[in-house]
């Protein structure tokens, strides 16, 4: 049985069908890449999964249970963590306090929460900046903070929305290492990414969408060679290269 399953998910904004009958599964320990051109409905899919938006139709199953219509905070408590493409730091709080607040998802005392936070900050290479206000971090730090916060809630499934966007090449490599380490710790991952190097090297399988609809699904190789994907997303250059 799959850990997580999206079944015939559809999301309409008025007349616009942002997500149109998408289905995919994620197995335990797996990294699934979600790709598609700008505006194809990737972030909307995330927002449907953790119920920022009520879905129009379809179902979302986590650990054998439908989470459709469940409150956002409940979904996190069940074990689905997420990051935001447009980062949402708790701006005036320190990095430590950001991560500590998230850690309270699983523990009740401040001592335990701080311990979890320190563990996670070390893991995400944030210890050096732990006392700085979140808003003072450069984009790389903010992206790592997004991940650290989500990890502090101890998710079984982590949704990463363009974690590598806006990073320098060195930072991109560090991000890849970090995501690999997260998976080694037994967390399954659904990752949205535009940077091909990241998505192709990380993903076990890739699910490609365009205009809200599935256009291909399979191993990175299969998807990269799929004509529909090449045309819609990767462009001529990649097809030749």
């Amino acid at each position: 049985m799959a850990l997580f399953e999206v079944k015939n998910l559809t999301k309409k904004f008025g007349g616009l069908v942002a997500v149109n009958d998408i289905s995919f599964q994620i197995h335990e320990g797996e990294i699934l890449g979600l790709i598609g051109p700008n505006g194809s409905g990737k972030t909307t899919t995330f927002n449907c999964i953790n119920n920022f938006f009520p879905i129009t139709s379809g179902d979302i199953i986590f650990k054998g249970q439908s989470i459709k219509g469940m409150k956002t905070h409940k979904i996190c408590q069940l074990g689905i963590g997420r990051t935001f493409q447009v980062v949402k730091p708790l701006a005036r709080l320190s990095v430590l306090d950001n991560v500590t607040a998230a850690a309270f998802c699983r523990v009740n005392s401040i001592v335990e929460a701080r311990d979890v936070a320190h563990e996670v900050m070390e893991f995400c290479n944030l210890l050096a900046v732990k006392d700085r206000p979140a808003k003072s971090l450069p984009i790389g730090g903010r992206k790592r903070l997004e991940i650290a916060r989500a990890l502090a809630t101890k998710p079984e499934l982590l949704l990463l929305d363009e974690t590598a966007a806006g990073l320098t090449p060195t930072e991109v490599d560090e991000a890849i290492e970090l995501i690999k380490k997260i998976r080694e710790n037994g967390v399954s991952i659904l990752i949205i990414e535009h940077i091909m190097k990241v998505i192709m090297t990380m993903s076990d399988r890739i699910h490609a969408i365009n205009f809200g609809q599935t256009i291909a699904t399979g191993t990175p190789e299969e998807v990269a060679n799929n004509p529909a994907v090449i045309e819609a997303y990767l462009g001529e250059d990649y097809a030749k290269g």
Binding site: K71, F84, K88
Partner: protein
């Protein structure tokens, strides 16, 4: 010992000893009023400063607490001191309703809803004459002639309120409150039940404010809707106390209460009789100017910007030499 604990100890000892050294009823009275404002300001700060839900309607809880104490006397023949127990809890019950209505709204809309709520409660207290005696108000005979019991009780309540909020802010609740203030959507996605925790913050805030109201009834012996449900003198004053002292700081509202009560009194008494009587009309204007000054130069209030004030004063001294 840390510097801040020493300061606290000195202030504490000073306040404990003050009425023994200064027998003036007048100054004891001013401090009692200040302590009441410490409670209201700190409670407002918990909800607005820490949780980010700016209330323009704290008179609701103050008035409900005060009326609970008064009605216990006039309708049930009990002692108004029971109001110290029931006032806080009835204010919480009212807060549940206020939260249910107002927390559907965010930001400025929430603020406006609480403002409207305050006016509604004032009208209810004015018109529900069978219960409240309307504009006539409620008059009771205070228990003590001396100010001392009131002084120490209000001092104790203010200290307990500050301490409780200090503890809350060092706990899971506190972390959740500030997370909600910083970004409600991010907070939800981190597993925080934002609706629940906003309501918790409101309930705690309402409890202490209601307690302050019940104490006010006991102490002053007289209330009417225009006094305890006043937009000007309660709801807005609560905001001023918070802003001037420093929102989202533990001691800010205490400092703000001292400054604001001091200012109010200075104007009410036309600079203690030294200035012509018409000056007493000017306090609203001065409060307005003060808020503008604080927002422009000390956006974090006196406590929040203490370092800035210190630097400024030191620099001025340096120049003179």
């Amino acid at each position: 010992m840390k510097k801040s604990s020493i300061t606290l100890l000195i202030v504490g000892l000073f306040l404990l000893g003050f009425p023994l050294a200064v027998h003036s009823n007048y100054y004891q009275h001013l401090l009692i009023i200040t302590f009441i404002w410490v409670i209201i300001g700190s409670s407002w700060n918990l909800l607005a400063g820490y949780t980010g839900q700016v209330s323009f309607g704290h008179a609701i809880f103050f008035g409900v607490g005060a009326y609970t104490a008064g009605i216990l006397v006039t309708k049930l023949g009990m002692s108004a001191w029971w109001g110290m127990l029931f006032g806080g809890f009835i204010a919480m019950a009212v807060a549940l309703f206020v939260g249910w209505v107002c927390f559907r709204l965010r930001g400025p809309y929430f603020a406006l809803a609480t403002l409207a709520g305050g006016e509604i409660f004032r009208l209810i207290a004015t018109n529900w004459e069978e219960l409240t005696d309307g504009m006539v108000g409620i008059l009771i005979i205070p228990t003590f002639r001396s100010k001392l019991p009131y002084y120490y009780l209000s001092l104790g309540l203010a200290a307990a309120c500050i301490y409780a909020i200090h503890r809350i802010m060092k706990s899971k609740w506190g972390y959740y409150f500030v997370s909600i203030r910083e970004d409600q959507d991010a907070a939800e996605s981190l597993g925080i039940n934002t609706t629940l925790y906003k309501n918790i913050s409101l309930l705690v805030s309402a409890f202490f404010t209601g307690l302050a109201g019940a104490f006010y009834m006991n102490y002053m012996g007289f209330i009417d809707p225009e006094v305890v449900f006043s937009l000007h003198y309660i709801s807005i004053m609560a905001i001023l106390v918070g802003i001037v002292g420093g929102v989202a700081t533990i001691m800010g509202p205490a400092v703000g209460a001292l400054v604001m009560v001091g200012l109010q009194e200075t104007f009410r008494s036309s600079f203690f009789g030294l200035a012509p009587a018409w000056v007493s009309q000017g306090h609203a204007l001065v409060f307005g100017l003060l808020v503008i000054f604080v927002i422009m130069f000390l956006a974090n209030g006196i406590v929040g910007d203490w370092e800035k004030i210190k630097r400024y004063v030191l620099r001025r001294k340096a120049f003179r030499i």
